[in-house]
Symmetry: C2
Amino acid sequence: MKKPAKISNAVIKRLPRYRRYLNELRRKGVDKISSNEFSRLIGYTASQIRQDLNNFGGFGQQGYGYSVEGLYNEISAILGLDKSYKMVVVGAGNLGRAIVNHTYYHKAGFVVEGIFEVNEKIIGEKINGVEVMNYEGLVEFVEENGIDIGIICTTKDVAQEVADKLCFAGVRGLWNFASVDIETPSHVAVENVHISDSLHSLAYHMNKNNEGKSDN
Amino acid sequence: MKKPAKISNAVIKRLPRYRRYLNELRRKGVDKISSNEFSRLIGYTASQIRQDLNNFGGFGQQGYGYSVEGLYNEISAILGLDKSYKMVVVGAGNLGRAIVNHTYYHKAGFVVEGIFEVNEKIIGEKINGVEVMNYEGLVEFVEENGIDIGIICTTKDVAQEVADKLCFAGVRGLWNFASVDIETPSHVAVENVHISDSLHSLAYHMNKNNEGKSDN
């Protein structure tokens, strides 16, 4: 399968959601699903679904619907989830620990190889079998172990500095949880996660009486 | 200020981001900003910004630009962030702890009043001064304390059951971190946060060589 040159970011952002729903269907042993059924389940219109998936060559058969397993595998490949990734976590606070302890990531091929901290009380500890190391050794570790992704779980004041170090050391992607938008060189991908934004959307929807449902 | 009847969810989802950037400007002592400058900073087109903010009556003055403090306060009020909210956390694992320990929420008026767990080893512990209580007491606590928001930090297998209990007890909003989409009655708002989705988007962008930037 060839990847098309240009797919809008809005479509890319919907793919993980398609994949999640397809995964649930797989687990329930469903083999195929019509675009109408899939629409009811996932909450996008059938036409939206067809349009989105046509970006990648379709996958549906007229009068048959989508093959759940086939579509799941295709979307996984498009997202690059058929590969594995080496990751480091910077910042061993509660959020960093939550990520290291989340067994899903390991099973899905996102493997935490090291955790880095400035707090000497925590250095040397093991979290889910992964050693917490001194932040001073970050660049060397990333270079020597061919780390792909840096996960930033620090305060926002030092997040850009940490990002710069990780980029210098050669990561290809940053997953940033500090509540500031991180800048990267153009060859390094970045996802800035602002967890509070969804709490603020929630507050909005709670204040619209009787229209409380958000749509995410 | 009157709220208009119908604002698209896409606009609502951008408001927290506007607010974050305005807050940074405020902290730096900036009084006003033109829509062009604001556009360069936040990465939306100036026309998009004008269109978004016109949903709420504008706030800009011709030849002057936007008042940073004024716009920040208006967006905060639209989002309902001029009020305070009582919250409970269900599940005192690492993610639950991260939320309880994040002092931002408390300062912003989102106050965690109680934490609930089934694990007896943790019940009775205090996290950031908040007591971990037996899950069996959840409904009574929510009712008696007029809790507004339930935060679900459990595994996905029990998340819907926890959500049902919280809705029954009278919360007006659910902030769900279990990796399954939660269903609620129409009067209860819900935000399903799927942290892994952004990791999957990151993987996609890392595999598009030299187009590594995502746009979030």
